[in-house]
């Protein structure tokens, strides 16, 4: 089950407050680019969290290990 967008870990991930190394290239690239987007425009946080959760929802099978660490 993917945590809702209100889970605090999403915002911390987007803001770069959690230094997580993803095991898949697409996840690493996505989160890196979300961080850049947030840094340029902090008002985009909600949108970034939505994109992050949508990604996890689609690829939860390959992100199972990341999920365990990020949302323990």
């Amino acid at each position: 089950m993917i945590p809702s967008e209100s889970h605090p870990a999403w915002a911390r991930l987007v803001k770069g407050e959690i230094d997580h190394k993803f095991g898949t290239a697409s996840a690493g690239m996505l989160f890196f680019n979300l961080r850049l987007k947030y840094k340029k425009d902090p008002a985009s946080l909600k949108e970034c969290i939505h994109d992050a959760r949508t990604f996890f929802d689609k690829y939860q099978n390959i992100l199972a290990n990341d999920m365990k660490v990020l949302f323990k």
Binding site: T24, A25, S26
Partner: protein
Amino acid sequence: MLATVEDVKRLLSEGKKLVLAADEKLLLSLPKGDWIGGTIPYFMTDEGGKVSRDKLFVNEMPAFLRSCRIALYSELELPQIAADSPNNGFSIVILPAFSKVHQDYAMNAASYDGIFLKSIAGWVSGIHLSDLGSACPRVFAGQTGESTDSKGVVMHVELPAEYRSNISVVNIFEQGEGDEISFPTGGFQASNCFINGEKKNFHDYVVEKKIDTRLPLVSDFCGTMVNVSIQGLLAKEKAVQLYAPVFEGVSYKVAKPVEDYAAKFHVAVPSKVVNPAFACNCILNFLYGELEGKKTGTITGPMTFGEIAYQLLNQTMVFLEIDKIG
């Protein structure tokens, strides 16, 4: 696999969907069909790295695919690529090097809507290095027979529900222990930079520090190492020309030297990966790693002027696998 023009014609007559890499004259000699292609004469083959102007590298798309659509994209249409890519499947993109589509994709792909929600891989077409200045990288859309040096070509492949595609990136480079480099503005040419936060000219820095320009700048994208390769020093402009753009707000380090490229790839490619649906590697790895006649693990494919795994990459191997679920 490497094939002759006759082999490729036979595959096309059998209705096969193909992604091709070859010298321009070979691609021009092919009939219309379900294929896309890009120009390049450098390959990694089963026998090792090879330069060939009379063979084509063929990636045959799986027979079980649900649908296959081929389209050309101008720079204005590029942001549509992710939206056009199937929800379950993948898209193979080929962009002509030095073109506006190449530049635009490199600068903006990461911000295309939904780009990381689709499987988008591909490469940048090129030319034989001895033809620099006299030939132009091109791409081909086989269904119409159109060839162009100013648009990207894409094959969108939809898979049945029981199959999944997965893109992997193999980067033999890692960040060195040296200075942290950042840039106040993004682009393919860098002059101003910050070295450990201190303003400096990047050209002067590379010269003063005697940086080996065969080593890329490496950035850590949340665990994925992303390279920017150095094309050359522009002494007059006091700038450095790059094969991919640097971005504002990103921190880079010069890569650690690599002694044996072939051995590094051999170790880095998981042994379970055999014959992926698509793969490519960088011409700079071919040249700097002296890969002619040497293998890079089990992976074969064109050696290109840029690789695409969602966004443009440099000095990297990219491959795409298709797995049956369950």
